[in-house]
Symmetry: C2
């Protein structure tokens, strides 16, 4: 009777690819991107340090896959936040922004991998597609919020840039602990303030 829950001692791991991705994320959480070690990741997964090669090629390959996973999760977090918010397009946009911030603050190292690293291969198909999807979602959120408020469609592109920059700036500064004014607030109030700043940036350019 072979244990299906512990396929470890076997020579062939069975699902090493996903195990490595999980180990890599744990490594990222524990040590941060700058102390990320492929050998350590392999050890976490219980394999030797060259086992990742068939699955990811090299360290950059693993980080590229992890980065794509990050963009997909970013969209998930935003979708989850939107589902819990009011149907009003402005509330939806604010929820997306708050989701962006929540993702950044609870996945700091992954966020940096996605937005402040040269290690992932951004010309990789899977990654660039995942990143594009995240950007496309933002575009429609901004456009719908602006339509609901009767904003000029000609300024949509600028509003997208403005909203993204604001959300990204808040996310980055909050996740790195640099916005004391906001980060020390009680979380409901912080979200209220952030939402105000976000909708303003998208609607009144």
């Amino acid at each position: 009777m072979t244990e299906t829950s512990a396929p470890r001692a076997r020579y062939h791991h069975g699902n090493l690819r996903v195990a490595l991705l999980e180990a890599a994320e744990a490594e990222l959480v524990d040590k941060g991107l700058e102390a990320f070690s492929l050998r350590s990741v392999a050890a976490r997964a219980g394999v030797t340090h060259t086992a990742p090669k068939p699955h990811f090629g090299n360290t950059e390959g693993l980080l590229t896959a992890l980065c794509a996973l990050g963009f997909r999760r970013l969209v998930e977090v935003q979708d989850h936040a939107k589902a819990a918010a009011a149907a009003d397009p402005v509330a939806q946009l604010e929820a997306a922004g708050l989701g962006y911030i929540a993702f950044a603050t609870s996945n700091q190292a992954l966020f940096r991998l996605m937005f402040a690293s040269n290690r992932p291969n951004f010309s990789d198909q899977d990654l660039s597609q995942a990143a594009r999807r995240a950007f496309a979602a933002l575009e429609t959120d901004v456009a719908q919020a602006r339509r609901s408020k009767g904003c000029d469609q000609d300024d949509d592109a600028l509003a997208v840039a403005s909203a993204w920059a604001t959300a990204h700036g808040l996310a980055d500064l909050l996740s790195s602990g640099r916005l004391r004014a906001l980060s020390t607030m009680e979380s409901n109030r912080r979200d209220e303030m952030a939402a105000r700043v976000l909708s303003n940036s998208a609607l009144s350019v």
Copy 2:
């Protein structure tokens, strides 16, 4: 007659500390933060790889000093931009924001060292002082712009967060080439758009 401009072949370098900082920045520009190598920096300065130790301790020490230098240069760039702008407080704020963006786009790796790295020791006296100065300048710029427009002083703290987030977000996304909508514009027009977004974020929260 000893050449003062080439104090290299001597055992004691003379001003190795500043030479290493210059070499470190060149290394940062050439290879980026993630491929930064202390040995390579030492080689650039014409010394062996352990020569930096008496001056900076370890790699983190060197990066910490470089990071502090970055914050001082950021303020310089902003001051320079403000000096070239109109005296109007809103124009001054916009100039500071555009300076922030200009710094980020022309010093990408240094910008990442300052805002997206755990390697510098941010509890270092010199560094934290330099960073605080940069933040203080921003605070006064925002406050003065708001006074000139009769904005409510109670919202100043939020406006500072909003303006900083917007400037930082624009800077980060532009420097990493992610804001095609803006980065493909002719530069005058781009600055005009960015200024509009920036002042809006500070004045109409």
